[in-house]
Amino acid sequence: MKGLLANSGLAVIWGPPKCGKSFWVFDLGMHIALGRDYRGHRVQQATVVYVALEGKQGFSARKEAFRRHHGIESAPFYLLSTSLDLVAKSSELIASIKAQLGKNLPGVLFLDTLNRSLVGSESKDEDMARFLAAAERVAQELNCAVVIVHHCGIDASRPRGHTSLSGAVESQLKVERGNTGEVIVTLELAKDFAEGTEIVSRLQRVELGMDADGDPITSLVVLPADYLPNERAITRKLSDRQRLALAALDECAATSGTRAPANLELPGLTIVVQVSAWREEL
């Protein structure tokens, strides 16, 4: 996927729980399997293997929602939901995939999640080194990209666990939830692509049926959002000083504000105040 994921080596997609990570990663995988461009990024079609070790129960509903919404009945997309200790079982995993897919080896293998496929500690350099070596071996043997889905820890600014993970990957994508529920994916680190690329999506509910109580059973599909990243709402709280300054501005506008002069080309009802008047009010 040009500009986002390399077609070999390792990549990590990380974010806090319940941010829409797995929905987005599944959507990404389906686009790769179908060879469909993804939000302006050119996609090289490839067989996809998705190792779903977390949220297995919801996966079939997710697939059903995608199938219904996009009208897709078949795709070279394969689900593996067996428990996996990647370090100990990478050889068996490689052999199994080769035996089943023959010449159609995957172009990308998603590992959802790191935590569920690692027996050991994410924070220990030895364990993480073994895990990364196993993942790289899978990538080399299958000649594919291995995309590791991972959580963030208490420090929400980086992937959880040992920092060797970020150092070993070709690209690192962060997934977060926007203020209005959108899923925002940012390319944080990339060896071969421009960093900072953002993909904004929204989750749309799809009804799949009714349960025994007559309530709808639903899942979500990922769709492009009509959203401008640079207009993202500011979530940071104002400091006490800033709130005082804003209150002073309000007061000043109410008492000495005037209509904006035409040469400023502001909307017609905009009220302006002199900076000196604002200072006085402060």
């Binding site: 399997a33 293997v49 297995k56 129960q57 996966f59 079939s60 509903a61 697939k63 059903e64 897709i72 009945e73 078949s74 795709a75 070279p76 997309f77 394969y78 689900l79 593996l80 939901s81 067996t82 996996l84 079982k89 068996e92 995993l93 052999a95 199994s96 995939i97 035996a99 089943q100 897919l101 023959g102 010449k103 159609n104 799949l208 049926g209 009714m210 349960d211 025994a212 109580d213 059973i217």
Partner: protein, 182 residues
């Protein structure tokens, strides 16, 4: 009943060697003089599934057998002795052959597929009380849904039990939770 129950003689013997020959079973050094013992819970479940299969109409036997195999493989996970695991594996094979009427290939298919996807139910209820699972065919454990894949791959999955079976997109079936747990 003691904590561990000697398993019935029929579980040992020829059936074990057949399961091993087809590659699905864990190896064991059990001999006729060294009777494997399985946990009493597994032993009881085995008996319950025999009764259940006997009572099931012919067309639904395979579905029930798949559920039985999944349930018994879970029981086998609690065994610490490889011989006990082997004994349960053999018992599943016998359930498929004598109580379900499947041929050896079909039994192996079910066992390999079910073993890999078996998960302990979280509801705490016995799966014996549940209805039959969704209809599965050998293809459900394999890769043949996509015509782009070669017949070599299909043959490979039929002949070799794989540790990590892949489920093709078309075979990822969605069944509402409420229906499966009724």
């Amino acid at each position: 009943m003691t904590a561990a129950q000697p398993i019935r003689a029929e579980i040992r013997g020829e059936h074990r060697s057949r399961a091993i020959r087809n590659g699905a079973a864990v190896s064991t050094e059990t001999t006729g003089d060294d009777q494997p013992e399985i946990r009493v819970e597994a032993y009881d479940k085995l008996g319950q599934w025999r009764v259940k299969l006997n009572e099931t109409e012919k067309l639904k036997k395979r579905d029930v057998f798949e559920r039985a195999a999944a349930d018994l493989f879970l029981e086998a996970e609690y065994e610490r002795d490889l011989r006990a695991v082997q004994a349960i594996t053999d018992a599943i094979h016998i359930l498929g052959r004598d109580y379900t009427g499947l041929d050896d290939d079909s039994i192996q298919f079910v066992m390999v597929g079910v073993r890999s996807v078996a998960e302990r139910p979280t509801s705490g209820r016995s799966v014996i009380d549940e209805g039959p699972p969704p209809a599965l065919s050998p293809d459900d454990y394999g890769v043949e849904a996509d015509s782009a894949h070669t017949s070599d791959a299909a043959t490979a999955i039929k002949n070799l039990p794989v540790a990590y079976p892949l489920q093709a997109f078309a075979n990822i079936t969605w069944i509402p939770v409420s229906v499966t747990t009724l």
